[in-house]
C-alpha cells in the first residue's frame, strides 16, 4: 500500500468484535467497556481521538470474521481487540494476520500463542499453562487425591492435560477424571462418578454456564463440606448466575486478575460506574489491550498495521497504568516468540459469604498466591516463527 502514510493526526479506530448477545454477552460487554475506559484515559493523556467500534460476534467465529472484516472495510478500523472464546479469538487473530491488522485476543487456549501463533495476533489473556502454574502446587498442598471434571472441548481438554501433568509433578494423585459435554446442565452423573472415585478434592475445569450448573448441583447435593473444590479460570462468577454461596465453596481458583488485588480504588470505582458489570478480569483485558495498541501506534507514529505490530512485538511495558492494575516487581512484556503478554497470574479462594464485599462493587475472592514472569509462563511448546 504505497504512499499514503497516514500519521496520527486524525484518529485511531479500534474494532472490537466481541460477544454482545448470547450467554457470553457480559464478557463481551466488559471487554468493550474496559477498552472504552482506556480510550477515554488515553484521549486525555495524549490529546488524540480514539474511536472504538464494537460489533456482536454472538461468540460465533464465522460471525466474528464477518464483523472484523466489516469494521476494517466499512469503518476503517486500524487495529482490533476482543474475542471472548478461544475459537473466536483464533478466528479474528488469524484474520488479522492474513489482512495485516494487529489484533489483541482474549482467550485461554494455548493454541492462541502456541501451535498457531500468527504474526498479527497478540494474546492479552493468560494461557491455560500460565494459569496452571501457580494453581497446581496450591491444589497439591490442599488435598492429595483429586478428581478432574473438564468441559469436553479444546479448552477443557488442554486444561485437563496441563493439570494432570502439573499435579502429578507436585506429587498429588489423580484418582479419576471425566469429560463433561459442553455445555451441560446436568452434573449429577459426573458428580456421582467423582464421589465414587474416593477423591478428596474435585477440580472443575469447566467453562461458561457449566460453572453455574456444577456449583449449584454441588450445593443441592450438600457436597460442599465433604470435598475441596477447585475451579479453573474463574472469571466473574456473578455473571454466570453463580450466587455468593456457591462462590464461597471454591477453595482454589486460577484467575488472571482480580479486584481483590492492590489496585487503585478510584480506577475500580470509575469502572464500576462506567460499566454495567462489577470490575473483573475482562475489564482489565479490554483496558490493557486498548492501552497497549494505542501506545504502540503512538510510538510508531503510524496507524499502519505492520508498524504497530513491530512496535508491540517484544515490547516491555513501561507505562504505570498497567503496573497499577497488575501490581508486580517484575517486567510485564509482550514476548517476542509468541506474542503472549507476560504478566502475573493468581490463585484465589472464595471468601466466606459473610466476608464478601458487595458494595460499591463485588469482591468475593481473596488472592492467595501470585506467580510472576517466566516462572508462570514457560517457553511456548511449539516455537513460533514470527
Amino acid at each position: 500500500l504505497g504512499g499514503d502514510e497516514s500519521d496520527l493526526g486524525d484518529e485511531i479506530i479500534i474494532g472490537c468484535p466481541t460477544a454482545l448477545s448470547g450467554a457470553f454477552a457480559p464478557y463481551g460487554e466488559a471487554e468493550r467497556d474496559g477498552g472504552q475506559l482506556a480510550a477515554e484515559h488515553l484521549e486525555e493523556e495524549f490529546d488524540i481521538s480514539i474511536e472504538i467500534v464494537p460489533g456482536d460476534t454472538a461468540a460465533d467465529p464465522n460471525e466474528a470474521v464477518d464483523q472484523i472484516e466489516g469494521m476494517v472495510v466499512d469503518e476503517g478500523a486500524h487495529v482490533a481487540y476482543g474475542g471472548v472464546s478461544s475459537a473466536v479469538g483464533l478466528a479474528v487473530g488469524n484474520w488479522g494476520t492474513e489482512n495485516q491488522v494487529p489484533v489483541c485476543v482474549h482467550g485461554g487456549s494455548d493454541d492462541i500463542t502456541g501451535a498457531q501463533c500468527s504474526s498479527y495476533m497478540f494474546s492479552t489473556y493468560m494461557s491455560n499453562t500460565m494459569q496452571v502454574a501457580p494453581t497446581a502446587p496450591a491444589m497439591a498442598d490442599l488435598e492429595d487425591n483429586w478428581y478432574l471434571l473438564y468441559s469436553d472441548y479444546t479448552w477443557g481438554d488442554t486444561a485437563q492435560e496441563a493439570y494432570t501433568e502439573a499435579l502429578e509433578a507436585e506429587g498429588a494423585n489423580i484418582v479419576g477424571k471425566e469429560a463433561v459435554p459442553f455445555p451441560t446442565q446436568e452434573y449429577n452423573p459426573y458428580l456421582n462418578s467423582a464421589e465414587d472415585s474416593g477423591a478428596d478434592g474435585i477440580a472443575l475445569l469447566v467453562a461458561g454456564l457449566d460453572q453455574r450448573a456444577s456449583t449449584s448441583q454441588i450445593l443441592n447435593r450438600e457436597m460442599q463440606d465433604d470435598y475441596s473444590f477447585m475451579m479453573h479460570q474463574t472469571e466473574d462468577v456473578g455473571l454466570w448466575g453463580i450466587d455468593s454461596e456457591a462462590a464461597s465453596i471454591l477453595d482454589v481458583n486460577s484467575q488472571g486478575w482480580s479486584p481483590a488485588l492492590d489496585v487503585p480504588e478510584e480506577w475500580l470505582e470509575e469502572l464500576a460506574e462506567f460499566s454495567d458489570h462489577d470490575p473483573f478480569v475482562r475489564h482489565f483485558f479490554g483496558y490493557a489491550s486498548v492501552d497497549q495498541l494505542v501506545r504502540a501506534s503512538i510510538r510508531a507514529d503510524s496507524v499502519e498495521g505492520e508498524a504497530i505490530r513491530d512496535e508491540l512485538s517484544g515490547h516491555e511495558v513501561e507505562n504505570e497504568t498497567i503496573y497499577d492494575l497488575q501490581p508486580t516487581e517484575e517486567t510485564i512484556y509482550w514476548r517476542e516468540d509468541d506474542h503472549q503478554l507476560i504478566q502475573p497470574t493468581y490463585v484465589t479462594s472464595g471468601r466466606a459469604v459473610s466476608d464478601q464485599q458487595n458494595d460499591p462493587y463485588n469482591v468475593w475472592f481473596d488472592v492467595d498466591h501470585t506467580m510472576e514472569d517466566e516462572e508462570a509462563s514457560p517457553e511456548p511448546s511449539d516455537a513460533c516463527e514470527l
Binding site: A179, R212, W240, G241
Partner: protein, 340 residues
Amino acid sequence: MATATLERFTLGSRSTAARALLVLTIALLLVTLAVRPRLFVQNLIGGIAYGMVLALIALGLALILGLLGVVNFAHGGLFMLGAYGAYEVVALQALPFWAALVIVPVAVGLLGVAMEVSVLRRLYGENPIIGLLATFGIFVMIEEAARARWGGTPLTFGVPPVLRGSVPIGFGQIATLRLVTVLIASLIIVGTYLLMYRTDFGLTIRAGLQDREMAEFIGIDIPTRFTIVFFLGAAMAGLAGVLRGAEVGMDLTIGFEYVLLAFVIVIVGGVGSIFGSVVSGLLIGIGVFVGPTVVRALGTVTGIEALNVSGIGSVVPYIIMLVVLLVRPRGLFGEEGLLE
C-alpha cells in the same frame, strides 16, 4: 381400540432386531452392575429422577402435538419464560417461591393462549411442518423479548430453605428440589392421562383433531377446547421452567437446548402417546446417566482404549432416538397415521 392397542404393544416383540437389542442392552447393564455396582445404582436412581424432569419438560409438547397436531417449537421459549418468570417473581418482585409456582405457569399459559388465538388457530389442519415453522418464529421472538427484559446474563434466584439441600436415598443423596420436581411431575402426568383418556373432554378433543369441522357439526365447541389444551400445554412448559430454573438457573440458551431434547423425547415415545413420552423421558434420563458408565465399564472389561470416548452424554438422546426409530419407525408407542 382393543385390537389397535394390542398390535402396538406386540409389534416390538415380533421383530428380531428389537429382541436382540433388548438382550444386548440388558447384558451391557449387567456387566456394568458387576464392574461398578455402587455407581451404577446411584446413576440409575439419578437417571430415573432426571428422566421425570425431562418427562415434565416434554409433556406439554407431547400434549399439544398429540392432541392438536401442532409441532410447538415455541415450547422451548415458554419453558424459558417459565424460568425467567420465576426469577421476576422471586428475585425482582420479592414474592415467595410458592407464589411463583402458581403465578408463572398461569401467566405462561395465558401467553400460550394469546399465541393460539393470534397465530395457531389459523394453522390447524395444515401440514404440521407449517405449525412448526410458525412456532419457530414465535420462539425467536420470545427469546429476543426475554433478552430485552432480563438481559443476556445468566441468572439464578433463591429457593425456600426447605427446598435446599438433599434427602438421603439408598446409596446416595438426591436434591430435595429434584425430589419435589419428580413428585409434581408424577401428579401432572397422571392428571393429564386421566384428562385425555378417561374423560369426555379428552375424547372430544381427539375427535376435533381428526376432523375439526365435523366435530363442530356434531356440536362440539372446538376453538374453546383447543385454546384450553393450549393453555394447559403452555402452563406445563412454564411450570417445568420454574422448577428447572430453581434448580440450575436460567439463561437464553435453555430454550433451544431443551426444546430439541423435548422433541427427541416425544419422538422416541411416539407422537400421540402421553404415556410414551413419560417412558421415553425415563429412558433418556437413564441413558444420559448410565450410558457413559456403561461405556466405561465396557472399556474396563474389554481393555479396549477406544471405548474411553468422553463426553458422549450429549449425544446419548440422539443415539437412543436413532436406534428406537430404526427398530420402530413410529417411536415406542406412536399411533399410526399421525403426522405422516
